[in-house]
């Protein structure tokens, strides 16, 4: 499996995503944001960090990067795209997922472990988890409070689009939402960092099945 990790100026979890995907057995390559095409990859990761310094709004400037048009094309073909933290913010800004992420209700950056419930295993990223499994994955963000209007929240529920919910909502997200996918399930955005818990030295391995799911999915195609 070839995984492309998109690097925006200011991305800083790009190497961590590369590390986690490689550990799961993928071949990875970095895709510079100025490239017009994502090239020959089977899945795309938009990593965390502070693209463009998070200036204006998190993800707002990155959504206009040259590579994003091709990421949108790739996603519309039903192929897997995951945005983690800043990557989630970019997916929302670019309209690939509904809603918005706002400043944490604590108004502070928050780096700590959270406990998540897996709400659906139908996506290419969650098939190796059990339905309703509770996993520990850290968050590290300032703007992670998920917002969508009532109508959208109902739509998400009705279409099985909520993928992870916080058990201990750390930031004021509506519906305790930590991660959502699109209708098809091939585009996932989540605030917590699964790539940070993929080996025991790092304090946990609950993030590993996400990358392994992706590999299994791609190989099964």
């Amino acid at each position: 499996m070839n995984v492309g990790v998109v690097v925006f100026p200011g991305s800083n979890c790009d190497h961590d995503c590369d590390y986690a995907a490689t550990l799961a057995g993928a071949n990875t390559r970095f895709i510079w944001h100025k490239e017009g095409s994502v090239g020959n990859v089977d899945a795309i990761i938009l990593p965390g960090g502070f693209s463009y310094g998070d200036y204006l709004r998190c993800g707002a400037i990155a959504k206009n990067s040259p590579v994003m048009a091709d990421v949108i094309r790739f996603a519309s073909e039903g192929r897997p795209v995951i945005g983690i933290c800043n990557g989630f913010q970019i997916l929302l800004e670019s309209g690939l997922l509904p809603g918005a992420l706002m400043c944490n209700n604590t108004l502070r950056f928050l780096c700590r472990n959270t406990s998540l419930r897996v709400e659906t295993t139908r996506t290419p990223f969650t098939r190796k988890y059990r339905q309703s499994q509770v996993i520990n994955v850290p968050v590290a963000h300032h703007d992670g409070s998920y917002y969508a209007d009532e109508h959208t929240l109902q739509y998400l529920d009705a279409h099985d689009m909520v993928v992870f919910r916080y058990q201990d909502n750390p930031n004021g997200s509506l519906g305790d939402i930590a991660g959502i996918c699109n209708e098809k399930g091939n585009v996932l955005g989540m605030m917590p960092h699964p790539e940070r818990v993929v080996s025991p030295e790092l304090g946990g391995t609950d993030g590993a099945p996400l990358f392994e799911s992706l590999l299994e999915y791609v190989v099964s195609l």
Partner: protein, 582 residues
Amino acid sequence: MSAQEKTVSVELAMEFGLSREEYDKILQIMGRTPTLTELGIFSVMWSEHCSYKSSRIHLKGFPTEAPWVVQGPGENAGVIDIGDDECVAFKIESHNHPSFIEPLQGAATGVGGILRDVFTMGARPIAAMNSLRFGELDNPKNRYLFSGVVKGIGWYGNCFGVPTVGGEVYFDDQYSTNPLVNAFALGYVKKDKIFLGRADGVGNPVMYVGAKTGRDGIHGATMASADFDENSEEKRPTVQVGDPFTEKLLLEACLELMQTDHIIGIQDMGAAGLTSSSFEMADRAGMGIEMWLDNIPCREEGMTPYEMMLSESQERMLMVVRQGSEDAVKAIFAKWDLDAEVVGRVTDDGRMRIIWQGQTMADLEIKPLVEAAPIYDRPYKRGAYLDEVQSFDFNTIHAPADLSDTLLRLLGSPTIASKEWVYQQYDHQVRTNTVILPGSDAALVRIKGGKKGVAMTTDCNSRFCYLNPYEGGKATVAEGARNIACSGAKPLAISDCLNFGNPQKPETMYQFVECVRGIKDACRELNIPVISGNVSLYNETSGKGAVYPTPTVSTVGLIEDIDLRLTQDFKQAGDHIFLLGA
């Protein structure tokens, strides 16, 4: 400041922070009256901050050598060998005065500066720490400073993408008129990829890279060398603003460039900006530089040579590259949307010539400016307070009736209480190397690709240093070594940041001298060399007393196998508990 219209005189020199004697010495060195730009250069180069004029003679005698020391004091950061041709570069530095004026930006730019110190060495920053001191939190001003500083450190480090893995915070009203903000960074570098701040090779181009120059922080270095007084507010417009995003780009561009063989030498433009970076690079190589100010990328209109030379705008570097490499360098920086301009060339006459609009604005011999900087052996005297505090009779204290209550009160005091509120605002896991998270004795960061890990801690019991400066200095080093050892690692080297009050007061100078003596003795005894550091004096507001003597020490150690690491928490019921030591 309309410094341009000012005529150079002893009064102006004093306004710039020089003494009458120092001005006479300048006249003697130059054989003429300096130009305004020249006077500005002298004033920052001879400030306490850049010249270490009050501390230098006492810093001599720090043990600085060991088989594993690759670079000792004197460069942007010190470097030690951790085996297999792998090295770590690290340093701690103060940003006390800027943080007092504007806590968020002051602390943020402190982090930015120390990160640059590390990556100019060719090392990718893999960990940061900080050591903080504030007045008690019942005062809203102190809460404002504390929360602003923490936010600033978090903002800059998180955005840059370095994990902030440790630090310390103390609260004591002794710091309410001058908080302390010390920032530490550690980077990883292969032994054959270390870069130094040297301007070698006659004719080689001098290049300016990074952000544009504005009027930020002019006279910041001299500000860091003076007491605060009621008028300090007026110095506010000189506050520098940080841009961690640009710094992240600068890091990536520099590291990419360092994979090529275009660079000869590189240095961060920190305190005293273009001035100290160019003088120090030329001095280390025994060379001269001709600098063309018309080529300096400026952010504002109408900047004068004086302002360009003294600006402390952030996220800038000065480099010397090989002749013919200019375009290749520019191409790499253009990829990262950064400026890179040729602003001068290396000469062999040992002089700094600064040219602007066809005129020579400054023409100075470098050696005397750097090496004939004043050195003071300031008088010191044991403070009378010491007799009083040391003769304290502990028998006058009676055990409290309710020990549980006392314990709860102790645990509830901000200095002892959990620091989670602080470190949860720092991304301490980015780069997926942090194997001991904040909250234990020392942080531990693994080196990917093997089993090794680097442990680090920053410590200082400043109340102890106040009660007995010599023993306090010793204890500080010992505490750091213990923290490293308790994590399973072997302490290898330290970087120190010596925060004291006004050195012109003999009692303060005594604290300095004695703390330093204590550090030296402990380092020698434990065979832990000092490989980098920083001195911050004048940490007091006039009339309101100085901070406690605070010689912060950052200790770095090595563990060969991270699976053998130890953390401080009790692991399971039934385990035995031992008390070790005297």
